[in-house]
């Protein structure tokens, strides 16, 4: 089997925060490879450094040491504008949805496409398709406040898919949803991975949820302590 270039790769990634006057080593040298089509769960308790790792992979934050390669590109060499361009090829899904409250569902899904400079008709059509994929076509005119937690997260997933990203980065995607809806969301995520071939990196503290993934990486105190391949 010939392996393509990994879509995400970290090399000895370190991140140190200064909290007050005390340095906190959030990441202590993480080496990780994510291949196209993977469904990777990063599992760990709070404070294990998994969110910090997610920020690095998402080009939202810069490492103190080490490197992050996204699609073979060294993120540390990119300037502000190039980082913004890079983020368009990443689909973010947050624990608290992070939808824009004043835009309705379809407006939120259209937003990343508008940011990319897509025309109005084109993005409206694509947004409708995406909302249909996540099963929310009927409620696309509703604002986030009029949607349930599960529905909001579906909108967020549709939004994350808007620019046909190289991979989805999910930060506790079901952390704020009841367990029944969480199962539905996970079903959707799994389907996206299996049927559409979307690469997914998900962080969670929920062991049960992590079992849905094809690979699990366990983190503790800023280091990867265990890797489980479930295939």
């Amino acid at each position: 089997m010939v392996l393509a270039k990994p879509i995400v790769e970290t090399a000895d990634l370190k991140k140190t925060y200064i909290l007050g006057k005390v340095p906190v080593n959030a990441l202590r040298g993480v080496n990780l490879k994510v291949e196209k089509g993977d469904f990777l769960a990063i599992l760990g308790p709070s404070g294990s450094g998994k969110s910090t790792l997610l920020n690095m992979i998402g080009a939202l934050d810069k490492p103190t040491e080490g490197k992050v390669f996204i699609d073979g590109v060294d993120v540390s060499t990119l300037n502000d504008n190039q980082l913004a361009d890079l983020r368009r090829s990443i689909g973010f899904v947050f624990q608290f949805f992070n939808l824009i409250p004043r835009l309705n569902a379809i407006g939120n899904v259209e937003l990343p496409m508008a940011v990319s400079g897509l025309g109005k008709n084109e993005r409206r059509k694509h947004a409708e398709e995406l909302l249909e994929t996540v099963g929310l076509k009927e409620r696309m005119k509703h604002k986030p406040a009029e949607l349930s937690g599960g529905e909001r997260q579906r909108v967020a997933i549709a939004r994350a898919l808007a620019n046909n990203p190289g991979f989805l980065l999910m930060d506790e995607p079901t952390g704020n949803i009841d367990s029944k809806t969480a199962r539905e969301i996970m079903g959707l995520v799994k389907r996206l991975n299996e049927d559409e071939g979307v690469t997914i990196i998900m962080i969670t503290h929920d062991q049960q949820l992590a079992t849905q993934a094809t690979r699990i990486v366990k983190m503790l105190d800023g280091s990867i302590i265990k890797e489980i391949d479930q295939l």
């Binding site: 934050d61 502000d80 983020r87 992070n98 004043r102």
Partner: protein, 435 residues
């Protein structure tokens, strides 16, 4: 992100906070309204005053008065200008002036303030001694009889005849004629150069009443004057000196005005000052420009206050929207697009503020003008002999319109630059974490 999308996103953000945006815009509205109202009124006033002055003006005339660098209002009323020089202009100096090339003719003017007495009625008036023939040639359009006849050679008769201005004849503008044609009146003048001051009285017959001239008539014929033949004036006032000489020139080209002015000054060895009517108007314009600048400055302060308000509101809004900015950046929005969104919001506020401000300012200017005109602005002429009411029409020039528009938007944008820059510099990971 496309420009249209940036604007519609910014507009959406403004619409979300209607009251706040409304109040911010109100600041700009007030500032722009103040500028438009003050400037359109002062421009209207300038035009009104210039018109009033021009109605008594002949633009092909020069005024020669004694003293170098005389003041601009040394015409009627006789003497704000002039200087401490001992030099005096003589009535006969017209001969010297008439010889200068480019001069058509010239009229010496002796002027004092006196009273016209008719029965129990007394009216204050300028008593002006001129050569009727020359004077009517110089001021062919204004020194014109409405009733009676201006006798071009009045000294031929035995009775002293005079010509009176409309305001002297009918001082209250209600048909109460103090002195009409063929009426006998007395001119009273107090000679204050002798001690004790001496009242001189002079019985005359009115030969003609002038057509109404209107205006403030700084240099030409005035509604508030009584004209007597120059020789009579010389003996009545006991002087051969004149206050000024009006010179009619061949044409009103700048070159002619300058050449004749220089020649006259040279002829009197620089002891006289020569002013053209045009120069007086220019001086008035420049005075108005200064006043306008001052008014604009005051109004601009209110706009700056509005600008500070915009900045304040945007910084608050920035804090509220930190998370939103984090989301936008996570979605791949560039810093300069975030900057553009915030600047666009300011542009929209400025645009709305300027539009409504110009409208409001225009309404205010017209309301104010109506109140002023209704109440009548008394403009004292000379030494307060007569006052007249006139209407001000506010004027909104394209320059003022565009200027107000541009200024409103510029102030909004300038004060938005700092908050917008701060918004654009937010780090996505920190902005997303912001509660």
């Amino acid at each position: 992100m496309k420009v249209g999308d940036v604007f519609s996103y910014a507009f959406g953000a403004i619409r979300l906070r209607k009251l706040r945006a409304g109040l911010t815009t109100l600041g700009v509205v007030i500032g722009i309204a103040a500028i438009v109202a003050l400037l359109s009124i002062s421009q209207g006033l300038q035009v009104t005053i210039t018109d009033q002055l021009q109605s008594g003006f002949a633009t092909d005339t020069l005024i020669v008065s004694p003293g170098s660098g005389g003041g601009m209002f040394s015409g009627v009323g006789g003497g704000i200008g002039g200087s401490g020089s001992d030099f005096s202009l003589m009535v006969t100096d017209t001969q010297l002036i008439n010889e200068i090339e480019g001069v058509v003719t010239s009229a010496a003017i002796i002027q004092e303030v006196g009273y016209i007495k008719s029965g129990d009625r007394t009216v204050q008036a300028y008593v002006v001694g001129v050569d009727f023939e020359v004077y009517s040639e110089v001021y062919g359009s204004t020194f014109v009889a409405e009733s009676g006849e201006i006798l071009l050679n009045p000294e031929a008769g035995t009775v002293v005849v005079v010509v009176v201005g409309k305001r002297v004849s009918d001082p209250w503008q209600n048909g109460t004629i103090v002195c009409g044609v063929n009426g006998s009146v007395e001119i009273v003048w107090t000679n204050t150069t002798v001690r004790p001051a001496e009242n001189k009285t002079y019985a005359v017959t009115v030969a003609a009443v002038l057509e109404e001239i209107g205006g403030l008539s700084l240099t030409g014929p005035s509604d508030s004057a009584v004209y007597i033949p120059i020789s009579q004036a010389q003996s009545f006032f006991g002087t051969d000196e004149c206050d000024r000489i009006v010179v009619k020139i061949a044409n009103e080209d700048d070159a002619t005005i300058e050449a004749v002015s220089d020649a006259i000054e040279e002829a009197f060895s620089g002891q006289v000052s020569v002013r053209s009517s045009t120069a007086v108007l220019n001086t008035i314009s420049s005075v108005f420009s200064t006043i306008e600048l001052f008014l604009a400055g005051i109004a601009a302060i209110s706009l700056l206050v509005a600008g500070v308000g915009i900045m304040n509101i945007m910084i608050v809004s920035l804090m509220e929207r930190t998370r939103e900015i984090g989301i936008l950046k996570a979605l791949g929005m560039k810093s300069r697009t975030v900057l553009a969104i915030f600047i666009s919001e300011a542009v929209i506020v400025g645009l709305l503020g300027a539009t409504f401000g110009i409208g409001l300012g225009w309404v205010l200017a017209n309301v104010a003008a109506t109140i002023f005109t209704g109440g009548g602005i008394a403009v004292a002429t000379g030494q307060g002999a007569v006052s007249g009411a006139f209407a001000i029409t506010p004027i909104l020039t394209p320059t003022l319109l565009m200027g107000a528009f541009g200024f409103g938007i510029a102030v909004s944008v300038i004060f938005a630059i700092y908050p917008a820059w701060r918004a654009s510099k937010l780090k996505p990971v920190e902005a997303l974490r912001y509660e």
